[in-house]
């Protein structure tokens, strides 16, 4: 499927009891671009991400994917067109790697040989050897599991790719390897990608644009290249916080 843009129009989300997790968020994501949603824990970045595939239903405003209002869409069809990657736990433990990766095709009632072929292709794309197909998630390392998660999300050829702290559970070396792989892969496949992270380096390395959220609001939206030099106080604070190791 061709990459589709995503638009948030005055999106709000208030939970029962009145606590507001998203507050009047408006944002346009260009087709084929990679955007990082950056912010501290509880800033609303994951909630915002989950409005795109309707895992969260906004209490106000609209979310558009490819120009279509998510709240009006057939939710099953919508989700099948959107890839979703989460931290480590996302693989089905009772299914082989091949079945995990091919699940979107299995749901679309494709034939066995087509599923096997696509799974093999996706494993290769994610940099995994073909013999992984027959293994089970518990037999894989954290990094390998994350690659499988990515392969699964891409197998349906989604128009949009959502990633929620995809590398949050990995050690720094594996994390760096995965970032290199993902960056290269995103350039190749050209998906509209939204990545939730609290890691500034990761955001700058992977994304074209960076959106900083704080307490459910967007406080800055910048091209990745302008983040370090930004004069916006919240951005400056975030940048400063990541440079305390004395590197600068």
């Amino acid at each position: 499927m061709a990459a589709q843009g995503v638009e948030f129009a005055q999106v709000s989300f208030t939970v029962e009891g009145g606590r507001s997790l998203l507050n009047d968020v408006s944002l346009t994501i260009a087709p084929g671009s990679t955007t990082a949603l950056l912010g501290r824990s509880g800033s609303g970045k994951t909630t915002l991400l989950r409005t795109v595939n309707a895992l969260v239903r906004p209490t106000g405003g609209r979310v558009l994917v490819g120009g279509q209002d998510v709240s009006q869409a057939d939710v099953i069809a919508l989700r099948r067109g959107i890839g979703y990657v989460i931290q480590e736990t996302g693989l089905f433990p009772h299914m082989s790697i091949e079945r995990n990766v091919g699940m979107s095709l299995e749901l679309a009632a494709k034939g066995k040989s087509e599923i096997a072929a696509r799974a093999a292709e996706m494993l290769q794309l994610a940099g995994l050897p073909a013999e992984m197909a027959r293994r089970y998630p518990w037999q894989l390392s954290g990094g390998q599991r994350q690659r499988v998660g990515l392969a699964r999300a891409l197998a349906s050829e989604p128009a949009v790719l959502l990633m929620d702290e995809p590398f949050g559970a990995l050690d720094p070396l594996t994390r760096a390897e995965m970032q290199t792989m993902l960056r290269e892969l995103l350039h190749r496949v050209g998906k509209t990608t939204l990545i939730v992270t609290h890691d500034l380096e990761e955001a700058l390395y992977l994304a074209d644009r960076v959106v900083l959220l704080d307490a459910g609001r967007i406080v800055a939206e910048l091209p990745a290249g302008e983040v370090r030099a930004s004069e916006i106080p919240q951005v400056k604070a975030y940048v400063a916080a990541t440079q305390r190791g004395g590197a600068a």
Binding site: I76, Y84, I86, G90, R152, L162
Partner: protein, 209 residues
Amino acid sequence: MNEFLRHHGSEIARLTFEHVWLTASAMLLAAAIGLPLGIVLTRQRRLAKPVLAVANILQTIPSLALFGLLLPVPWLGERAARLAVVALTGYALLPILRNTYAGILSVDAALIDVANALGMTGMQRLRKVELPLAASVILAGLRTATVTCVGVATIAAAIGAGGLGELIFRGVASVDNGLVLAGAVPAALLALGADGLLGLLEKRMAVRR
């Protein structure tokens, strides 16, 4: 011993068969009700508390009393075996219901999230993710229910429903320990056998993570 078996062997075999039949019928019935109902409760969670409470109360009624209480019920009271199967079903229901409900709810929320995000329908999620991952817990419930059923079924003889309890009751009445054992030992073996078999199955269903 040999003498005893020559006298009672065929009777023991017949009563064992009756016992298995009572238990198996009740288990099938209880599973047919408990499994779907347990699944429905995970979808309609506000119903869970009252329904589980009713099953719980059922479980606490002394079995002899339950058999007695059901005796005057029109259609049920006509045939002792019919009544026994219904009462046993009541006892088997709670473990099946409770474990089905708890097993499905214990599936990792992140996996449910992913299942939804992949665009699974509710039915696909149930079949492909929730039931396989809850299988060993559900089987544990079936196992508890079966063992309970085998035990309680001995009481069914008190209302003339047959089964191994008949030998036990007769043995107690005539102070004949041999007769009591002739009923109790096969009943115990049945319970152990069912427990072991279902335990094996349960282990095979467990998912490594």
